[in-house]
């Protein structure tokens, strides 16, 4: 684990150092993105909506600079508390590297399942995203921005997720996203296809007794921009159902997001996460803050 962390951060540092040296003789230029056009940090760290990545790159930079962002998210659903925190680096509005840590607290359910009260599932997620083509806002109005991405996820709960039937404690999701802000309708639409083995996005390990191989999942967001600062929307995310002991449902949410300024964006949502770790009807509120430069 720590070796991977180390080599990834070395890699990140090397990239940050090398890219401008190699490609840009000119001065780097910080900032410059339009409000809300870097989205917010999704649960897994990739910039986008709350539940799913968009084809945008984190940070406030344009193609002439480097940007960063940090986020903290809490979801309070019926039985559980879910916290996610992390940071991202955006390089030239083209490459995004992110890290996100999850803490999924079982509260009393932990005791009921024999794991102990306040037992928490934790995982680390390292993400990388590359913009291939297009633009969210500018250019051909029918040509979306398109990205590909990968998320390396590593569970901290090896023994427990193994006992629940997960085949693995780490895994990699691969996804492709296309997003466009249809300015003439003030509507942002985004679609993602994800290949994943993750159970509950990786909190309960990867693969299981019912299915141990990759499956293709669809995710989508629709947001309506009401002002420069404020947008409302909804998201839907299909999920695999690999574990016999813990049925897994699709997720959806309704959210509002508000940019206080270029550096601070908040999102509030209502999320329905269905059944998690064998306890159903996990609905509740989602709150997220993001700082970006």
């Amino acid at each position: 684990m720590s070796r991977i962390k180390l080599s990834l951060s070395t890699c990140t540092l090397a990239l940050i150092w090398a890219l401008p040296q190699a490609a840009w003789a000119d001065e780097l230029r910080g900032g410059g993105k339009l409000l809300l056009t870097n989205g917010i940090s999704s649960l897994e760290g990739a910039s986008g909506g709350s539940l799913t990545p968009w084809a945008v790159i984190a940070g406030n930079e344009t193609k002439d600079g480097i940007g960063v962002s940090a986020h903290a998210t809490v979801a309070e659903v019926k039985s559980y508390d879910f916290q996610s925190a992390g940071f991202s680096i955006g390089l030239f509005d083209r490459v995004e590297l992110s890290y996100s840590h999850h803490n999924f607290n079982m509260n009393e359910i932990g005791a009921a399942l024999g794991l102990g009260a306040d037992y928490a599932f934790k995982q680390h997620i390292f993400g990388a995203k590359l913009k291939l083509a297009g633009d969210l806002v500018f250019g051909d109005p029918m040509m979306p921005a398109i990205v590909i991405g990968a998320q390396y996820k590593n569970s901290d709960n090896d023994a427990v997720v193994g006992a629940m039937g997960a085949k693995d404690t780490k895994g990699i999701d691969y996804y492709v996203s296309a997003s466009k802000l249809f300015l003439s309708h003030s509507i942002l639409a985004s679609a993602t296809l994800r290949a994943t083995k993750a159970n509950q996005i990786g909190l309960l390990g990867f693969g299981g007794d019912r299915n141990s191989s990759y499956s293709l999942q669809a995710e989508g967001s629709l947001a309506w921009q009401l002002s420069r600062r404020f947008a409302i929307g909804g998201e839907y995310r299909t999920k695999p159902n690999n574990l016999g002991v813990a049925r897994e449902d699709d997720w959806f949410d309704l959210f509002g997001t508000y940019a206080f300024n270029k550096h601070l964006t908040a999102a509030v949502g209502y999320a329905d996460m269905g059944s998690i770790a064998s306890v159903g009807e996990q609905r509740g509120v989602l709150f997220s803050l993001q700082a970006s430069y």
């Binding site: 410059g32 344009t62 002439d64 509005d93 633009d135 109005p141 300015l183 003439s184 003030s186 921009q225």
Partner: protein
């Protein structure tokens, strides 16, 4: 019809755009509707949303003031011919909004060549335009419909 009458008629139909009184001379170019870089809106809904030519003129004047005094992009505008720019930018917006104008300025690529405009400058200009439209009380949705047209012109404005 005498030759003089024809010449006069031609002149009043299309005055040389680079010879308006009070403006600095510019290199000759052909005046064409395509120079505007996009087709105008149909109907008069957008013209109305912007308060007709008077509203559009106020938006353009405010935009020009914001741009010229802007800490980020102000520098790019120091050499502009303010008299011409106020006229051609007004014509441009008025034409696109179908508020009864002909655009007589240059095409977008020629108008912005060698200015070294970067994406961040473009976004800054958009923000200034949004502020100018806000100040005029133009509905957000109508603002975005205009921005949608301008968004397609980026390739001619921003240098790669």
């Amino acid at each position: 019809m005498s030759m003089i009458a024809i010449a006069l008629l031609l002149q009043s139909a299309s005055p040389p755009p680079y010879a308006m009184p009070g403006e600095e001379p510019v290199e000759a170019y052909e005046v064409r509707p395509e120079n505007a870089g996009a087709k105008p809106f149909e109907g008069d809904a957008m013209a109305k949303a912007f308060g007709g030519q008077d509203g559009i003129r106020r938006v353009v004047n405010r935009l020009i003031d914001l741009n010229s005094n802007d800490p980020v992009i102000g520098e790019i505008f120091v050499t502009e011919d303010r008299v011409r720019f106020r006229r051609t930018l007004f014509e441009h917006m008025c034409y696109l909004l179908n508020a009864g104008c002909i655009y007589t300025g240059m095409d977008m690529r020629s108008a912005h060549k060698n200015m070294g405009i970067q994406q961040a400058d473009m976004n800054r200009m958009v923000e200034n335009l949004q502020s100018a439209m806000d100040a005029e009380g133009i509905r957000f949705h109508a603002q975005n419909r205009l921005l949608a047209k301008l968004a397609t012109m980026r390739k001619d404005v921003v240098e790669r």
